[in-house]
Amino acid sequence: MTSSVITARVKQKQIAQLITGGKRLDERGLTDFRPIQLETAIIERAEGSARVRLGKTDVMVGVKIGVDTPFSDVPDQGVLTVNAELVPLASPTFEAGPPGEDAVELARVVDRGIRESKAIGLEELCPVPGKKAFAVFVDVYVLNHDGNLIDASALAALAALLTTKVFNYEVKDEEIKIKPGYTQLPLRNQPVAVTLAKIENKLVVDPSLEEEQVMDARLTVAFGKEGKICAMQKGGSGFFTVEEIMEAVKIAQGKAEELRKIVVGG
């Protein structure tokens, strides 16, 4: 369970009533994101990093590059690993310990957006095919949970990857020798995730924590370039009709473009 924090029934009713009237608790429109703040290259020790504040939700992503052996079924590609931690300081409901199902889901959905959109040029990250590959570790670190961790994490991951530099190297006797200088990580696509929640049969973009607690269900849609869907995940214990799904996907496509501009610029 994401949180066992119980929203007072009075507030639940308030949220529901407002939404039926097209408004939300924080006075946003149904399809508005909360204010977004983005910082990049904040952790010098990491090869790439970014921090996204989406309203009060605060997520930091660090990218580390290591050297590893490639997977046997794709011996000429680099290795991408995405991990997420819901550290206890981010919420009274997070406990220390190995990742629970929410952390696992978060990591895997962010991973899917990056992997399926083929955002990272993994074929360029295997200096010695079959023996030595670059491992790209994307670690999502949630600092404050106020709802919609997926969108914030995906955005921070993209921003971090865009600023990631891989150390220069040369191959000697099938070993990697580090040379001075850096090269930008090869990025081919810029995946962006948009999450909508279903409340009182209406769809709202970027649910806050309170909205997540009263929602029926949520749908996350990730888009790559040219408006192609690259990942999708339904969450929550409720359901969607097919009409709601298609409506959500169309809204998400437009919002994804807005978000991408914030990270990529222009």
Binding site: D73, C230, K234, V242
Partner: protein
């Protein structure tokens, strides 16, 4: 055993015939049995293509550990697990991140169907074991799990049927097998409560335009409805057999 590199052959012919002989909108052959285990309160076994999945329910029963009990409803717990021998390269029995995520999404797919509010302070424990995996196991698991719940006599709003559609070599196809899943362009698993057309599981990975996605969703819905008809038959079959035995109708 290494997974062989991508074969140069096509997955779908010009005429639309897939490697296993199916047309784009065909499900794999399905075999369903309900009530197969002696101890579990409810159970079901499904073979779909080469997939073999066993689902079982214990409950409603006392929650262990007690502090997890919910005051106003039953706690539905699901465990999706793959047997070490279910895949080509032996899989470690320890739960992987994929199994953790699938345990969660299958639970979210079934929860809307169960009347959990009828039974406060108890747990309904659902176990899905993949004995042999061949693509689309989460769909087969959900279809089997919903039968296990019905077999256990747990009141439900509807059965839940699930399958996946996707994009393979540019075509939208139904019920991807393992090669189509691995080598195709996109995969859309979907679960449906058929009587109310409520989608309770929806995921996607790969790359598709919105139009292609809509086509895949519609194809998956058709597949779910076909599975639902088979589910209903399977639930009724043991009672129908007894009726025939005693010479009724």
């Amino acid at each position: 055993m290494k997974v062989p590199k991508k074969m140069p052959e096509r997955l779908i012919s010009e005429e639309g015939v897939r490697l296993d002989g199916r047309r784009p909108d065909e499900l794999r052959p399905v075999k369903i049995e309900v009530g197969v285990l002696g101890n579990a309160d409810g159970s079901a076994y499904i073979e779909q293509g080469k997939n073999k999945v066993l689902a079982a329910v214990y409950g409603p029963r006392e929650v262990h550990p007690r502090h997890l009990a919910l005051p106003d409803r039953a706690l539905l717990r699901c465990r999706y697990h793959m047997a070490p021998f279910s895949v080509d390269e032996r899989k470690s029995p320890a739960p992987s991140r994929r199994e953790t995520e699938l345990s969660m999404v299958t639970r979210k797919a079934l929860e809307p169907a169960v009347f959990v509010e009828y039974y406060p302070r108890v747990s309904i424990d659902l176990f899905m074991e993949v004995l042999q995996a061949a693509g689309g196991t989460r769909g087969v698991s959900i279809t089997a799990a919903s039968l296990a719940l019905a077999d256990a006599g747990i009141p439900m709003r509807d059965l839940v049927a699930a399958c996946a559609a996707g994009k393979v070599e540019g075509r939208i196809v139904l019920d991807l097998n393992d090669r189509e899943d691995q080598e195709g362009e996109a995969d859309v698993p979907l679960a449906l409560m058929p009587n109310t057309n409520a989608v309770t599981l929806l995921q996607m990975d790969g790359q598709m335009t919105i139009e292609e996605f809509e086509q895949a969703v519609n194809l998956a819905l058709q597949g779910c409805k076909q599975l639902h008809a088979l589910q209903r038959e399977a639930l009724k079959s043991k009672y129908v057999a007894v009726k025939e035995e005693v010479g009724e109708e």
